[in-house]
């Protein structure tokens, strides 16, 4: 130490920096005319298709499968994995930053239907697909949907199921007040989430823990008993390996959830349609669950798993 430190100067500098930061933040907040998305950059090369994905492994796998199938047909693709929740990636899609997304028919329908909620009579895969056509944003279309489904489920451990004799979501009614539910943060505010569980099933849980979308946080929280009920995807191999019980959904809150390519109309060419429809034809729930086991249980890279799937099915 050759000099006496001068905290006063440091303090001034710190305070100044903090204030400047606060000002910069409020300034950003104030200037959102037009687009309110900080992500919109509008980078969209002609002739190249940008494929996005949600922030969970299965969707990233599907993105890679779409990308591989398109590349095999000579289409130039760009991938943007792990964008975020539907609220975020659909905004990017509408802004034109993303041309193609692997979507889930029922969840997309529920989201696009907004506050009114999805039509009550749309429960089968075909009904959901038809209802979806009426709410798609301008300039967007869906291609052939796959037989493969991945539903949101409410899942409990075998012990919890036995203790409260649970087999359907309805069985939760008398005990929900004592149970903690875990899911992604957006689950709290979605129709296919706490909102619908209350309005359709009359369920109010003791508390809700915002974790991640079918990822390691929610899985480990259910494993360790930090939550009693968890929002787990039906294709998650952990359900089988842990012997968990996914509660049935007699009121079809989580309607049919077939995997369907959501694409910008101006990105559709015969080649693209052919490639994506071939993927949809090949994809079944059994195959998807097996692929997910490779990723979640065997820790394989989604890109490799996607490549293997494509070559096994003669698509890439």
């Amino acid at each position: 130490m050759s000099r006496t430190p001068r905290p006063r100067l440091v303090r001034r500098a710190l305070l100044g920096a903090t204030l400047a930061g606060a000002l910069a933040l409020t300034a950003c907040g104030g200037s959102d005319s037009g687009s309110d998305s900080p992500f919109s950059s509008g980078s969209n090369d002609a002739g190249s298709i940008t494929i996005g994905s949600a922030n969970f492994p299965e969707n990233e796998l599907l993105m890679n499968i779409y990308a591989g199938a398109l590349e095999a047909k000579g289409v130039k693709v760009e991938t943007k994995p792990n964008i975020g929740s539907r609220e975020i990636y659909l905004k990017a899609f509408e802004d034109g930053d993303i041309d193609l997304l692997p979507e889930y028919s029922g969840a997309l329908l529920a989201y696009l239907s907004g506050k009114a909620g999805p039509p009550k009579d749309a429960t089968s895969p075909e009904q959901v697909y038809d209802a979806l056509q009426k709410v798609l944003p301008d300039g967007a279309q869906t291609l052939t949907q796959a037989a493969a489904e991945d539903k949101d489920t409410l899942t409990v451990t075998a012990d919890t199921a036995k203790k409260y004799s649970l087999s359907s979501i309805e069985d939760l009614a008398p005990v929900a007040g004592q149970l903690t539910l875990g899911g992604p943060p957006e689950f709290r505010e979605r129709q296919q989430g706490l909102v619908g569980l209350k309005s359709e099933y009359g369920l109010t849980f003791k508390s809700f823990k915002p974790l991640d979308a079918g990822g390691p946080l929610v899985i480990s929280a259910l494993k360790k008993g930090d939550v009693d009920v968890a929002n787990v995807f039906s294709t998650d191999p952990t359900i089988a390996t842990e012997g968990w019980v996914s509660l049935t959904d007699p009121k079809n809150l989580f309607s049919a959830q077939n995997i369907v390519p959501l694409i910008k109309k101006d990105a559709v060419t015969p080649q693209v349609t052919e490639a994506l429809n071939a993927v949809s034809t090949a994809l079944t729930t059994e195959k998807l669950t097996a692929l997910m086991a490779k990723i979640v249980t065997d820790k394989q890279d989604p890109k490799t798993v996607a490549k293997d799937f494509l070559s096994e099915n003669g698509l890439g």
Partner: protein, 230 residues
């Protein structure tokens, strides 16, 4: 207008309101700082007083600063599961380096002549450390406390990642449902909170630091207590 969420009175009460989240945020911050201080302050005084382990403390401090807080959070999370433990653990790891280095630097830079004089009038070593060195080093130590507090208060937002409350809730939830006004509200409240807490600590610094060693008297102090030749 993006400040709608912030200015809506409905968001200023109830279990999801700002007052609750601010208190939770301060609770995590306070708890982490308390634990970090219990570890770092005695250690810093000991190292500064004896001069032993100074190299270790500096290197440990620098290595600690390099640790990414989110990484530490995940590491502890893998062992403990979701809850408060990984959050507090990660924040403690974040707070220790500035506290340790400031305490060590403050104590070791106290004039050796003063320490020798204290020894000469018959004070024992613990009395010298706590009665002479710590009061003289207090401006520097409190500087470390303030810098640690600012870092912890701004990083405590990660609590929301593992299902805890705090102001990070507005950032994570707002992003998940693409509600940018909510994100702005959380960020502004956090920034204001950090500035207010820092101002309070500055006030505290004025009150507890002995008038003789106040930074204001810095020039006088330098002539009165010349640095030893090294």
């Amino acid at each position: 207008m993006s400040l709608d969420y912030l200015l809506d009175a409905a968001h200023w009460s109830g279990p999801d309101g700002f007052p609750h989240q601010i208190l939770e945020h301060l609770r995590y911050t306070g708890l982490a700082l308390l634990i970090a201080m219990v570890i770092a302050l005695p250690l810093g005084v000991l190292i500064g007083h004896t001069g032993r382990g100074a190299g270790l403390a500096i290197n440990l401090g620098n290595a600690g600063r390099a640790l990414p807080t989110l990484g530490v959070l995940m590491l502890i999370l893998a062992v403990t599961g979701v809850g408060l433990k990984p959050v507090i653990g990660a924040l403690v790891v974040l707070a220790i380096p500035p506290l340790l280095t400031a305490t060590y630097a403050g104590v070791s830079s106290v004039d050796r002549g003063v320490v020798d004089a204290a020894r000469g009038v018959g004070l024992r070593e613990p009395q010298i450390a706590l009665g002479v060195e710590v009061p003289l080093a207090l401006p520097v130590i409190l500087g470390g406390v303030r810098s640690a507090t600012l870092q912890v208060i701004s990083t405590a937002t990660i609590a929301a990642y593992v299902a805890q409350d705090g102001l990070g809730r507005y950032l994570f939830d707002g992003l998940a449902v693409r509600d940018y006004p909510r994100i702005v509200a959380g960020a502004v409240v956090l920034a204001v909170l950090a500035v207010v807490v820092d101002a309070l600590l500055a006030l505290l610094q004025r009150v507890v630091v002995s008038p003789g060693v106040r930074p204001r008297a810095g020039s006088r102090r330098r002539t009165a207590l010349p640095q030893p030749e090294r």
